[in-house]
């Protein structure tokens, strides 16, 4: 298939239309889908955090309920009563037996609550000495009471001091921090919250001690920060905005070890939430390509006013995962569509172009002189119309061609007859006159001699005219076009005109010239005429400057012969090409005035035209075009 042929273009256009439409539609759907997904993402995040927060809150509530329940079990008051004088005045149980009973209850509770690390009863006496303590071994998970001699003094612990300050049945919930054993943070660290309530002596109403449960928060925090969606990032901060949970493990509980950057710096949204009364806030952050949701989560009883904050973020990339998958499928679909369009387009285009090609072929094979155009049968409608239109215009062209040819023939015939048939009487007159001249020159008087000279001159002149006419009618008669290097040809012309060039001290400037298929003899005559004229019609006393140039123009060659000679008046520039037209004074320059008529005929034989423009310093510039003859069908008939 030719490049840029109609069928290729059709196929390309079809592919482009289909592809562009599909791409545009997909792009629109993709962006719409994305924005819908992103809008709905914040709602979804809020709903998820709400569910998770509820679980977390209920865990803490369970802890506080257990603390209050344990504080009100009978062995607590039993221990208080027995600790006054070693034995309980009510039922006579020893302090030891009350302790054992309480240990059993504590152990029972701890055993069923796997997150309870310690359950303790601590007295005010002895600087806050532990009275009953049940421990969970972190490694084995086993629950056991701690022996009497291993109990510690906790009088200075902040939770102890704070819990003592509470009223009866009021609860103290410690800030969330890391479990310490003997003042050192346990490794791997265990986030812990302590729930404590003060114990009062029921008989005296005096403060006796506290009951405290240590809860490992790991599981509760995990619940707060996990959902089905693993791509989201979860953060939990304490009320001050310090991270308790962070995707980067190094940043969780950073504040327990060192100065830490609070979460408000990372999430301005959190700062807003902290200063507002709402429960949650969401934000679509286009700059960070994230959707962020933050929620206030109650820690302990509502009255305590303690909170943690849960933050969840989801990247646009994750949110739009679905739409991108769709996009990928769409891209594949578009590729398939483009391929289908290419196929259908080329088949269709082939179908459309085929009749045109057929037609072009038959027109290409057309013989201008043969009457009928062989139109392939069964052309579809438009091609058929084109064919019949071609047929019609072809007939018109033929008709015109015929007329042209007839006119040309008539012209040539006229020239031929005028020259050929007139030649004979003139030749006879000439020979008679010459005879008389040689015989009687001495015997005739001056006027007689003059008359004879006039007759001879007239004969000569007539013969010259007739010769010119004959030449004119014969131009191109027997010629076959040949490939000619015009530069070479011009060298020959210049050599012929050498005498005239040297006599007039003329300068010739020959530009680059092409090699063309032309009528060699005729084109040589053309250049000879034009350069000869330029030499002949020069300004007296000024050496002629003659330039010959050529350039390609619209599939033909345009030549120019420019001189600085006498020039030609604009109104005479058409007329000079007529036969026998001479503008200059007859005596001043020799010639029959047939030269430019020849030039025009030669140029027209080559399908071109000739005209005159202004030359250098008032001189003239003869411009003519020549078409390569192979490019003119039927050129032999064209003249």
């Amino acid at each position: 298939m030719r490049r840029n042929s109609i069928s290729t273009r059709l196929a390309i256009v079809l592919v482009l239309v289909v592809t562009l439409t599909a791409v545009a539609a997909s792009a629109l759907i993709f962006t719409r889908l994305n924005s819908v997904l992103i809008e709905s993402a914040s709602t979804e995040l809020e709903r998820d955090t709400e569910v998770q927060a509820t679980k977390f809150v209920s865990r803490i509530d369970e802890l506080t309920r257990d603390t209050l329940l344990l504080a009100n079990t009978p062995p607590i008051q039993g221990i208080i009563r027995a600790s006054r004088d070693g034995r309980d005045p009510l039922d006579g149980s020893t302090l030891q037996s009350w302790r054992e009973r309480l240990e059993i209850i504590f152990e029972g509770v701890a055993r069923h609550k796997p997150d309870y690390l310690q359950v303790r009863f601590i007295g005010v006496a002895d600087g806050g000495r532990e009275l009953v303590r049940v421990n969970r071994n972190l490694k084995t998970g086993a629950v056991s009471a701690v022996a009497q001699d291993q109990l510690q003094t906790k009088g200075s612990e902040p939770y102890f001091v704070s819990a003592l300050a509470r009223k009866p049945d009021q609860l103290y919930l410690s800030p969330i921090n890391l479990n310490r054993e003997f003042g050192v943070i346990e490794q791997p660290f265990v986030p812990v919250v302590r729930s404590a309530t003060p114990i009062y002596d029921q008989s005296t109403g005096e403060i006796f001690g506290i009951v405290v449960i240590n809860l490992a928060l790991e599981r509760a925090l995990r619940e707060l920060t996990s959902s089905g969606d693993v791509r989201r990032n979860y953060y939990v901060t304490n009320r001050d905005g310090h991270y308790l949970v962070h995707p980067d493990p190094a940043r969780a509980f950073e504040f327990a070890y060192a100065q830490a950057q609070p979460a408000q710096a990372d999430f301005p949204l959190l700062k807003t939430l902290m200063h507002s009364s709402g429960q949650s806030l969401s934000k679509v952050d286009r700059q960070r390509q994230q959707v962020i949701s933050a929620r206030r989560v109650r820690l302990g009883p509502a009255s305590s006013g303690k909170n943690v904050y849960a933050i969840v973020s989801d990247d646009f990339n994750d949110i739009t995962l679905v739409s991108r998958a769709v996009l990928k499928q769409a891209a594949l679909l578009i590729l398939a569509l483009a391929a289908a369009a290419l196929f259908i387009g080329s088949v269709l285009a082939r179908k459309i172009v085929r009749p045109i090609e057929k037609l072009a072929e038959s027109v290409g094979n057309l013989d201008v002189n043969n009457a009928a155009l062989q139109i392939p049968p069964s052309l579809p409608a438009e091609a058929g119309d084109l064919a019949s239109a071609l047929q019609t215009s072809l007939a018109a062209v033929r008709d015109r061609n015929d007329k042209l040819q007839a006119k040309n023939q008539e012209l040539e015939q006229f020239a031929y007859i005028a020259s050929h048939d007139l030649q004979e009487p003139v030749r006879t007159i000439s020979s008679f006159s010459k005879l008389l001249h040689t015989r009687y020159t001495d015997q005739l008087d001056e006027r007689g001699q003059k008359s004879l000279t006039f007759i001879l001159d007239s004969c000569q002149r007539m013969q010259a005219l007739i010769h010119g006419l004959l030449e004119y009618s014969r131009l191109g008669k027997q010629a076959e076009p040949e490939m000619i290097d015009i530069a070479d040809m011009l060298q020959g012309v210049i050599a012929d005109l050498n005498t005239a060039i040297e006599n007039s001290k003329a300068t010739l400037d020959i530009g680059p010239l092409p090699t063309l298929r032309i009528f060699a003899v005729e084109v040589r005559l053309l250049f000879q005429n034009l350069i000869g004229n330029a030499l002949k019609f020069s300004r007296p006393g000024i050496p002629p400057q003659i330039a010959v140039t050529a350039r390609r123009e619209h599939g033909s060659w345009q030549f120019a012969v420019t001189d600085n000679g006498l020039g030609i008046e604009p109104q005479a520039r058409e007329k000079v090409f007529m036969i026998f037209q001479r503008l200059q004074n007859r005596n001043e320059y020799e010639g029959t005035g047939i030269g430019l008529a020849h030039c025009r005929k030669i140029v027209e034989m080559h399908g071109g035209r000739i005209w005159i423009e202004d030359g250098i310093d008032g001189g003239s510039r003869f411009v003519f075009t020549l078409q390569e003859l192979s490019a003119i069908p039927g050129h032999k008939e064209a003249h």
Binding site: L404, E410, Q413, F414, L422, S458, I466, I579
Partner: protein, 239 residues
């Protein structure tokens, strides 16, 4: 500036060229001919007696020759100018025109016995009255002129097989080689003096008139038994 003429422009240019061409040829050729005529006559008058008789004859022939050349030139010009002003088409009845021409021809050849038959079934045609009359003049004139018989018969009619008009005679006929040459202008098949002194433009003129009417003219002949000129004059729109 376009580098080539359109075909229409070329036809017009050629038409104009033909006109100026014939004019300038006539003008430029006439001038020296006139000079020759003038000076040869003058020479003859002034110095004729100084020449010996043979050369006097030569000198006497020069104006004759020049005059002949002038006649040819004029005939050529007249030929070139046929139909120059365009055709004035009108419906023509060829029988009527032929009858008028026939009587003219008979009047100009009073010495011979002519029998001219004209069919009145000839179809009408669109044409230029003046030119068609000229055409018939040339053909009927030729038919009468190139004829040795005591009764010179001419038959003018329409031949449906050829779809052409014809002018048939019982004259001297034309040899096959003559048929080939006869289309050319100034073609005389016979030496001057035999069968008239025409320049040999008659058939060329008739042929050109037929061409101007988008038709053509051709001859058929049996030597010694006469010849027949056929011509078609198509309606102007037929082309």
């Amino acid at each position: 500036m376009s580098s080539a003429y359109t075909p229409q422009q070329r036809v017009q240019a050629l038409e104009k060229e033909l006109e100026t061409f014939s004019y300038s040829v006539a003008h430029d050729l006439h001038a020296p001919l006139r000079a020759i005529l003038h000076f040869s006559k003058m020479l003859n008058r002034r110095a004729g007696d100084k020449l010996d008789p043979r050369d006097q004859e030569l000198l006497g022939q020069i104006p004759e020759l020049a005059g002949h050349a002038q006649q040819m030139l004029d005939a050529l010009l007249a030929y070139a100018r046929i139909g120059h002003d365009g055709l004035k088409r009108a419906p023509l009845n060829l029988a009527t025109i032929a009858a008028a021409v026939a009587s003219d021809v008979q009047a100009s050849h009073p010495e011979c016995c002519c029998s001219i038959t004209i069919d009145d079934t000839m179809p009408q045609v669109q044409g230029d009255r003046e030119l068609v009359t000229r055409l018939l003049q040339e053909l009927i004139g030729n038919a009468v002129q190139f004829n040795d018989h005591a009764e010179r018969k001419v038959h003018i009619g329409y031949d449906t097989t050829n779809q052409a008009y014809f002018v048939r005679d019982n004259g001297i006929g034309i040899s096959p080689s003559g048929l080939e040459r006869i289309g050319a202008i100034f073609c005389r098949l016979h030496s001057p003096g035999n069968y008239g002194n025409g320049l040999g433009v008659g058939l060329s003129v008739a042929s050109k008139i037929a061409r101007l009417h988008n038709g053509r003219l051709w001859l058929t002949s049996t030597p010694e038994h006469g010849s027949c000129a056929h011509f078609q004059l198509e309606d102007g729109d037929a082309a």
